[in-house]
């Protein structure tokens, strides 16, 4: 780092990278191990719901859980406040 570098503003983007990764990794892990159609199902559900309510892409959570040999597909949609 030379003298000039002191005056140049370095963008502190590492924290942005970390936050973006934290979110995408958590999302990808939640669908991992499940059937391959989960991401597509999520996208199509989002499209249908958006016909009626303007929800955020992040507002839909799909989880596949195994309980006592049964698989439960859990869908949660956070609706925007009025």
């Amino acid at each position: 780092m030379g003298l000039l570098a002191l005056f140049r503003r370095t963008p502190r983007t590492a924290s942005v990278a970390k936050e973006r990764l934290r979110i995408i990794v958590a999302q990808e892990r939640s669908t991992r191990g499940g059937p391959d159609y989960l991401p597509l199902l999520r996208r199509e559900l989002l499209e249908v719901i958006r016909k009626y309510v303007n929800v955020d892409p992040d507002a839909i959570q799909i989880n596949l859980e195994r309980e006592d040999g049964q698989e439960v597909l859990e869908l949660s949609v956070a609706l925007p406040g009025k």
Binding site: G2, L3, A5, R12, A17, V25, E28, R29, G33
Partner: protein
């Protein structure tokens, strides 16, 4: 007991082959019998990094197809007595490598008394990468502190947990280690690059080592001498630490801070 270690990453160009070569050399230097196997069928490169490209007669696929014996195909390292290289085939037929064939080669190496088998994985998550990790006991996941590399590594961690022999048989899981490469302490200090703590927190696995960004890596590959053998290099020391940790030692991480420069260097760059 033979330990099978896969060096993998998902993303290409992060330092898998550099790492495979250096870890293999480091273990061999500690007196271990080591075989390092190139799984990148069609894109042979480990031989170049190891500096034995002109001594390749037979390759991995030749052994599997019975064109030669494993002994004939293993290239003995000229520097280290107990180190052997198995080159990847240049064939474009990716199906030439099949799980049963790979298992036979591994079993023969195990019967031969090798202490470590290092599997250098190709990039991606296709067949070659799958085979490289399939029989592994441990995995070194090579990551650059950069978004696409970290995300791909997480995909690979998912595969290690589900698509390996250990996972399929319900045995104890593949032991995962994070190796951060091309680390620039200066850029971490200025907030331009994610720190080792950041990456560790996202991926949630233990850190085997942090390898600083350095011109020594290119020089080493130019010369065909694994960088761990360059005694003057911080990269070599960082790899040496990683080898010791693989062998069970607890060592503090080094090279996480920028080397101190003199007054002139700081003022005028350099």
């Amino acid at each position: 007991m033979t330990e099978i270690i896969v060096v993998t990453s998902g993303k290409g160009g992060v330092g898998k082959t550099t790492t495979s070569a250096s870890i293999a050399c480091g273990l061999a230097r500690r007196g271990k019998r080591v075989a390092v196997l190139d799984f990148d069928i069609g894109l042979r490169n480990l031989d170049l990094i190891m500096g034995c490209e002109r001594r390749v007669v037979y390759d991995f696929v030749n052994v599997i197809q019975g064109d030669c014996t494993l002994k004939q195909a293993l290239i003995k390292d000229k520097r280290l007595e107990t180190l052997f290289v198995l080159a990847a085939s240049q064939t474009r037929d990716k199906d030439a490598l099949a799980p049963e064939g790979v298992r036979r080669v591994l079993d023969e190496l195990i019967a031969d008394g090798f202490d470590y088998i290092i599997c250098d994985s190709p990039a991606g998550i296709e067949k070659g990468a799958h085979l490289a990790m399939y029989y592994a006991d441990r995995a070194i996941v090579v990551v650059n502190p950069e978004v696409s590399s970290v995300r791909d590594s997480d995909r690979v961690l998912g595969l290690l947990a589900s698509k390996t022999a250990r996972a399929e048989r319900g045995e104890s899981p593949v032991q995962e280690h994070l190796l951060l490469t091309r680390y620039s302490p200066r850029r971490v200090a200025t907030g331009e690059m994610m720190s080792v703590e950041d990456v560790k927190e996202i991926l949630g696995i233990d850190v085997l080592g942090v390898i600083p960004e350095s011109q020594d890596v290119l020089s080493a590959s130019n010369a065909g001498t694994p960088v761990i053998l360059n005694e003057d290099s911080d990269v070599a020391s960082a790899y040496e630490d990683a080898v010791m940790r693989l062998l069970g030692e607890t060592l503090p991480l080094r090279f996480l801070e920028e080397p101190r420069k003199g007054f002139f260097a700081r003022m005028f760059g350099g």
